[in-house]
């Protein structure tokens, strides 16, 4: 029943889009263009060296820091505080979060407390921690522990709450013991959320350690930035900030690797 005299045209395509796809090199390109423009601005005098030193000068400061050997001292000081505080905060937070997720009484008792303490900017507590634990390492580690504890608790018990209940009933229906259910069903089921929590808590830990070192430390990246700032050595300041950025990126990359390894079962 086709009428050949009727005009025929192809159906117009109107789907597509709204699906992000990876575009290689776009990210590095933006970064390079920005740095190049900045360098050019500094060389031509558009940007005054007092306001913002050229990237090459910051790199120079970084090389100097490396050659003098101070780089490792600062990095080691920051890293050891960070690791100690973050690991203990994550372990403790994981245990508390698990307890909140598993026991109604613990949830009723602790969940409101966690909600009340989580939003406090922990850096405001540093003077208190210095009084309690002294000016040395302890107060900084305690600050990071305290800062990473709450997000870990919240992410962990959120993860436990979200474990598919049918899987738990399945475990019970096959006569699995309580510890087996927790270890083999609840913990792996909560792992994606726990890893998301680690992403957040690691960022918080980096912010807190630098803030603590800005206030009271002789060694550490924060201390280095603080000294540079008070001497108006802006090239060193930029070098320190760049170190922090690399630091954050590295941690992020490590967690992404861990996710890919531990969550390869995910669809």
């Amino acid at each position: 029943m086709t009428d050949t005299r009727e005009p025929a045209r192809p159906v117009r395509f109107r789907g597509g889009g709204f699906a992000p796809r990876p575009v290689r090199l776009a990210g590095p390109a933006v970064f390079l263009v920005l740095v190049a423009a900045w360098e050019a601005g500094a060389r031509t005098g558009v940007i005054s060296p007092l306001v913002l030193p050229a990237p090459s000068e910051a790199i120079g400061a970084l090389v100097e820091l490396w050659v003098s050997g101070e780089l490792w001292e600062h990095l080691a000081a920051s890293l050891s505080r960070l690791l100690l505080g973050w690991v203990s905060g994550t372990v403790l937070g994981g245990l508390i979060g698990l307890a909140i997720g598993l026991f109604s009484l613990v949830r009723a008792g602790l969940a409101p407390l966690v909600a009340a303490l989580f939003p406090i900017p922990k850096i405001a507590l540093l003077p208190l921690f210095i009084i309690w634990f002294g000016i040395g390492e302890e107060s900084k580690v305690a600050l990071i522990l305290f800062g990473t504890l709450f997000p870990t608790v919240i992410f962990t018990y959120g993860g436990v709450d979200n474990v598919d209940r049918t899987l738990i009933r399945m475990g019970q229906s096959f006569g699995l013991g309580w510890f087996s259910i927790v270890r083999k069903i609840i913990l792996p089921g909560a792992l994606p959320a726990i890893l998301s929590g680690m992403r957040v808590s690691s960022a918080i830990a980096i912010i807190l350690i630098v803030a603590a070192e800005l206030i009271a430390a002789e060694r550490g990246i924060g201390a280095y930035i603080q000294i540079a700032g008070s001497l108006f050595a802006t090239d060193q300041l930029i070098a320190g900030v760049a170190l922090l950025s690399v630091f954050g990126l590295t941690v992020n990359w490590l967690i992404a690797r861990a996710e890919r390894l531990l969550l390869r079962w995910r669809p």
Binding site: D164, M170, Q172, S173, F174, G175, K184, W265, R266, P267
Partner: protein, 255 residues
């Protein structure tokens, strides 16, 4: 082992879900429970499996389960309930790990049940890599691994597409033939019920009561989907169920 349900009633808060349900499942027979959605048939199964406590009435295991049985009352779930972070073999292994078996015994059982469900070559695959039918076969393998005395099946084929469902029904018929299983099979699909059940129990809408019981004595492996006698039974069951299903339909829209 025989299963006897006596005067079972159950409620969730103010809502009565089951009302005086009595049912006997003899050893080596499959009882199919059919009924409109929300009639409490899944609740009945959870009560039988000990996952919920009955409000009143009793569920009795008559006779001892076989000594070899690791988990006498064993479920097969509608949505398979496989751990996504464990492989096919790992999912079967899960239900054997708490029974004090040696590693070698466990491996032997896993190999055996995967062989029986034609999954041997997929033992290291993750659930996400499997089709729906394969996932349900893993769940069946897992159930067989604990040597159940009674299988409790909660709409095991409802999450599958109709072609897979046909294939799986043949698999189940094979299973009944080989293993001489006792079971309760909950479904809303009357075709499944008349193909797979020896006793078919029609339940009313909430609170669920037993409206009618039909016995089909022919062995399941001799049944043919086009058998006019089965079709007559199916029509009869549908007549018994239709008004209930319609009433449920109106109830839900009137909510």
């Amino acid at each position: 082992m025989q299963l006897r349900i006596e005067g079972l009633s159950h409620r969730y808060g103010d809502v009565a879900v089951l009302d005086n349900v009595c049912l006997v499942v003899d050893a080596g027979r499959i009882a199919c429970i059919v009924g409109p959605s929300g009639c409490g048939k899944s609740t009945l199964l959870r009560l039988v499996g000990g996952l919920e406590e009955p409000g009143s009435g009793r569920i009795l295991q008559v006779g001892e389960p076989p000594k070899r049985s690791l988990n006498p009352l064993t479920y097969i779930f509608q949505d398979f309930a496989l751990l996504p972070w464990r492989t096919v073999a790992g999912n079967v292994s899960l239900v054997l790990e708490d029974h004090g078996l040696t590693r070698r015994d466990r491996e032997a059982i896993i190999g055996d049940v995967l062989e029986r469900t034609r999954l041997a070559e997929f033992r290291d695959a993750f659930p996400r890599q499997l089709s729906g039918g394969m996932k349900q076969r893993v769940a069946i393998a897992r159930a067989l691994a604990v040597r159940p005395a009674v299988l409790l099946m909660d709409e095991p084929l409802s999450a599958l597409d109709s072609q897979t469902r046909e294939l799986m029904m043949d698999d189940l018929v094979d299973l009944w033939k080989r293993e001489n299983l006792t079971g309760i099979y909950v479904t809303h699909n009357l075709h499944e019920a008349v193909r797979l059940g020896h006793r078919i129990v029609v339940m009313s809408r909430r609170p669920g009561r037993i409206l009618e019981t039909v016995e089909i004595d022919s062995p399941v492996w001799d049944r043919d989907a086009s058998d006019p006698a089965l079709e007559t039974t199916r029509r009869h069951l549908w007549t018994a169920m239709r008004d209930e299903a319609r009433a449920v339909d109106l109830e839900l829209t009137g909510d």
